[in-house]
């Protein structure tokens, strides 16, 4: 059992390194969608602190996974396109960061922890610094795009969710009537 735990921790540890290098916006959206789809409906349905009738709670809880799926799909497409576009511009040299340019001229401008992680290899450190800059830049723009996509997401979800909720609630009512 200890071996399994150690392996699992090692696997998580490796993923943490990848996460840090890839930035947070996409993962943040995955975590958000998973929580909304799975945990939120359960908590709404089985909340001991409310006397709200079951049917209303069913309606409120069905909204969560429907919205989570639509949100994630829309965000994956929009962020995918955005990140691809930015990567392409960076590759063509059309986006250049001021501090990275300064660091290329004077290596001491690179944060100490990056230099240390690269064993003070200047080229490697500059590459890592640049790569982290690119990822954080994409994340910040991604956050803006994610916020904007909520408008079409919620419009679509408001159209789809009542139909699904009605079907599920009616189906359950018919079952209990039988």
């Amino acid at each position: 059992m200890k071996v399994i735990n150690t392996n699992l921790n090692q696997h998580i540890a490796t993923s943490l390194e990848k996460f840090s290098q890839k930035g947070g916006e996409k993962v943040s959206n995955y975590v958000n969608a998973a929580g909304k789809a799975v945990i939120a409906p359960l908590v709404i349905m089985h909340n001991p602190f409310t006397k709200e009738n079951e049917e209303n709670r069913k309606w409120a809880s069905i909204k969560q996974p429907v919205e989570a799926v639509i949100t994630l799909a829309m965000q994956l497409v929009s962020l995918g396109l955005l990140y691809k576009g930015i990567d392409s511009l960076i590759k063509k040299g059309k986006i250049n960061f001021k501090y990275v340019e300064n660091a290329a001229k004077d290596i001491s401008k690179i944060p100490e922890k990056i230099l240390k992680a690269c064993n003070y290899d200047k080229e490697k450190a500059l590459e890592m610094y640049k790569s982290q800059y690119n990822e954080i830049f994409k994340d910040r723009l991604g956050a803006v795009v994610t916020t904007i996509t909520y408008l079409p997401v919620l419009a679509l979800s408001n159209k789809i969710y009542p139909k699904i909720a009605e079907k599920i609630v009616n189906k359950n009512e018919n079952k209990s009537a039988q």
């Binding site: 996460f19 709200e52 309606w59 409120a60 930015i86 610094y129 408008l151």
Partner: protein, 179 residues
């Protein structure tokens, strides 16, 4: 000459300072991630509330509770996410959890791993623990109270008359109430 707005942004002092601070300071990076999530959520919940109230496809008698749930979730989410997310981004708590799970693991780049860990911790704390478990638990009874206060038909369950107010009337009520 064509000006590339993204490059202009990449050259701005403010953005460069911000990115540099995120790279240097893991805790600042984690807190920024939580703050961004809260901003996105507050925006989304505000839109959700407005659109739910206007959504005629949701049966009228269900609409007040669904909309109240959206509004109360937004308010409680902002407070809880900042509280839980920022607490979990605390270096002392992070170091304790790190030592418990990853002390004996091998890392190619422990600096990146620790940065990823602080961000994931803050993210899971704020979006899963706070937003999805604590928020619905707290927001549901609040939504129930809010619904009864502002959608009075619920106070008279035996009445067949359903009084549903428009978003404009609701906004007016809220303003009057806050006065």
């Amino acid at each position: 000459m064509k000006i590339n707005p993204l490059n202009k942004l990449a050259q701005s002092e403010m953005l460069n300072k911000h990115i540099n601070k995120v790279i240097k300071d893991d805790m600042f990076g984690a807190k920024t991630l939580v703050a961004l999530n809260v901003t996105k959520d507050v925006f989304a919940y505000a839109i959700r509330f407005k659109t739910t109230m206007q959504n005629e496809k949701i049966p009228e008698e269900k609409r007040p509770f669904v909309a109240s749930m959206d509004l109360m979730s937004g308010v409680v989410t902002a407070i809880m996410q900042i509280g839980v997310g920022f607490s979990l981004a605390n270096p002392k708590i992070q170091n304790k959890i790190w030592d418990k799970f990853f002390k004996n693991c091998n890392f190619q780049d422990i600096v990146s791993a620790k940065k990823g860990f602080s961000q994931i911790m803050a993210l899971i704390g704020s979006t899963v623990l706070a937003e999805r478990i604590l928020v619905p638990l707290i927001a549901t009874p609040f939504a129930e109270k809010f619904e009864k206060k502002f959608f009075p038909h619920k106070n008279n369950q035996n009445s067949n008359e359903f009084k549903f107010i428009s978003i404009e009337e609701f906004n007016k009520d809220i303003k009057d109430y806050s006065k």
